[in-house]
Subunit: 346 residues, 2 copies
């Protein structure tokens, strides 16, 4: 797998995902301002990776200040980088508690441990998801034929430290000799599908077909999709899931065509304090993301634009939520609460 982030001993090295697929460039982040900027500009993106990066950002801020007294200020500051992904707040809270009790070095140790933890969590999500895909393959008698997955945005290796979430079942299955074909929605406006998902699937030798977001319905109508798997940026206590803009549309299409729609995410993405999807703050981003592409103007000057970064898929449209601790089918408040009470997978 391509490395999303790594600790160099003095800095967090990030793959600059804004430059994909044209350039594979790493940047070394050495202070909390750079980290804030990297998260806000999507140099590092994807809920799990944002969490890990933020934990390192807290360490870098405290280290540079030379005093643990900076902890609250650094944490508050980093929490303003993006509003929707709950893993950001979860990770910051976690290292804040540890820092307060045990100091800066303990924050660093925790942040490094979170990389390993992410790997384990990703593999556990992969195993739980793969069991679902295997049962679909059995039901469809797809022996010898690849199972066809559609995904939106990027919840692959580059959204995390490891296998990713939505693509974890695919990568784990690929390791174990299962065959997949992945339809990749390009995911306007920032094209995480074409730029990042298509890139990493190609790098990992998983057969894939890139489509525009306008083509998802056509592909499903032709019976070409066995299952949809997407990630999530925040899951409410009732199972409603915020994810990259366009996910809600894909979920509605999947329901229309009878295609199972799975959300794969670590339990750290579940926010028990958020009752329903209506309570999830949705980040609004710059109009220029829609009116320009790579510096080229694609819409008339002065046009009015609406550019939400996420939408909320109601639990009722989700077949299962796949986590490292198990699967919620169908996702609802009870099933989600059970998952959160169940033991962590090792």
């Amino acid at each position: 797998m391509i490395e999303t982030l790594a600790w160099t001993g003095s800095a967090l090295r990030l793959l600059d995902q804004t430059k994909l697929p044209r350039e594979t460039v790493y940047v070394d982040i050495t202070d909390e301002r750079q980290m804030h900027d990297a998260i806000r500009r999507l140099v590092v993106r994807g809920a799990p990776a944002i969490g890990v990066a933020a934990a390192f950002g807290v360490y870098l801020g405290v280290r540079n200040a030379g005093t643990i007294d900076a902890l609250d200020r650094v944490c508050d500051y980093l929490a303003t980088s993006r509003p929707t992904a709950v893993n950001l707040f979860w990770a910051i809270d976690r290292v804040k508690r540890i820092g307060r009790e045990r100091g800066a070095d303990a924050i660093l140790a925790q942040a490094i441990a979170m990389i390993d933890e992410d790997h384990r969590v990703n593999r556990a999500i992969g195993a739980n998801g793969l069991a679902l895909l295997d049962s679909i393959a059995d039901r469809k008698s797809k022996i010898g034929n690849p199972v066809s997955i559609l995904t939106h945005c990027n919840a692959g290796g580059l959204c995390s430290a490891g296998f990713g979430t939505a693509l974890a079942p695919v990568y784990l299955g690929h390791e174990r000799g299962r065959r997949f074909h992945v339809y990749v929605d390009e995911t306007r406006p920032l094209m995480q599908g074409s730029r990042i998902t298509a890139y990493e699937l190609q790098a990992n030798d998983v057969p894939a077909t890139l489509i525009c977001d306008t083509m998802t319905a056509a592909v499903m109508s032709q019976g070409k999709v066995d299952a949809v798997i997407v990630g999530a940026d925040r899951i409410a206590a009732n199972g409603d899931a915020a994810n990259k803009i366009g996910t809600l549309g894909v979920a509605i299409l999947a329901r229309h065509f009878g295609v199972p729609f799975f959300v794969a995410a670590p339990t750290s993405t579940i926010d028990a304090a958020t009752k329903t999807g209506a309570d999830i703050p949705i980040e609004q981003r710059d109009a220029a993301e829609v009116t320009r592409f790579a510096g080229t103007q694609t819409a008339p000057e002065g046009v009015n634009v609406y550019n939400p970064a996420f939408d909320v898929t109601p639990a009722a449209l989700i077949t299962s939520i796949i986590t490292e601790r198990g699967v919620a089918t169908p996702p609802n408040a009870e099933k989600i609460a059970e998952l959160l009470k169940s033991p962590r997978s090792s």
Copy 2:
């Protein structure tokens, strides 16, 4: 309205729509090869405009050959420019018959008459559509508030010689003091929504908001859309409608959210010889439309791409088909046959 096409006396002057919104450039087409290229490259696009342009292309080919004997060859050649829009074949057949009986000058006279006819047809579609929108406004008690329309691709003035089809009710209503707000899907891959629809709505002072195709579901889920209106490239005898890729998805979302979904098209778009949508040939276009944007690479080299230019929306998902001769609600084989038998509007 911005002029889509005009006869100069010796050439057909076309607005080069591939250059919008950055440049407003006209090109003079003087022979059938240039016309074939202009249709294929989408210099001129939209079912009604393609029909008119092809009629002029037939004239130019015969004129340049200096003999009506070239008629069949020129017609056959122009018919290969694009496969889906039936108006192309309808217009070629129409001038072919006239040319055979009455010679080259009669073809030119007919092509010129088709421009005027297109204006009349557009206004009649506008009047029939506006009645539907007025009844929605009444039902929703939108007195004083704009009716909110969502459209996909471009079926406005620039798809025809006049008002267009999908936007005709909006433009006619705008003339008559009705208030509208139009959500414009950008319509990847070729962005006819952001490049063309947003451009012409702005030029005609109709309030509009540009969104990516991924945002349609979010906008509908917020109750922001009162009705969807799109055009069509071919309507089968049973009411199934081929239109720009992504239309099927919008229709499914509209059904999910209880939003009326209208298809507006001249009766020349109805092909009685095409029984159902399954019989409509779907043009596949170059992968580079998906992997590059405005010259910038947006996907990894060598990625597999699926790029159909159109999809088919089944009649069951269409609330009404709006034509210049009346409205088919719900669209089905009987209602469509009735429309085709009804007298032309003057």
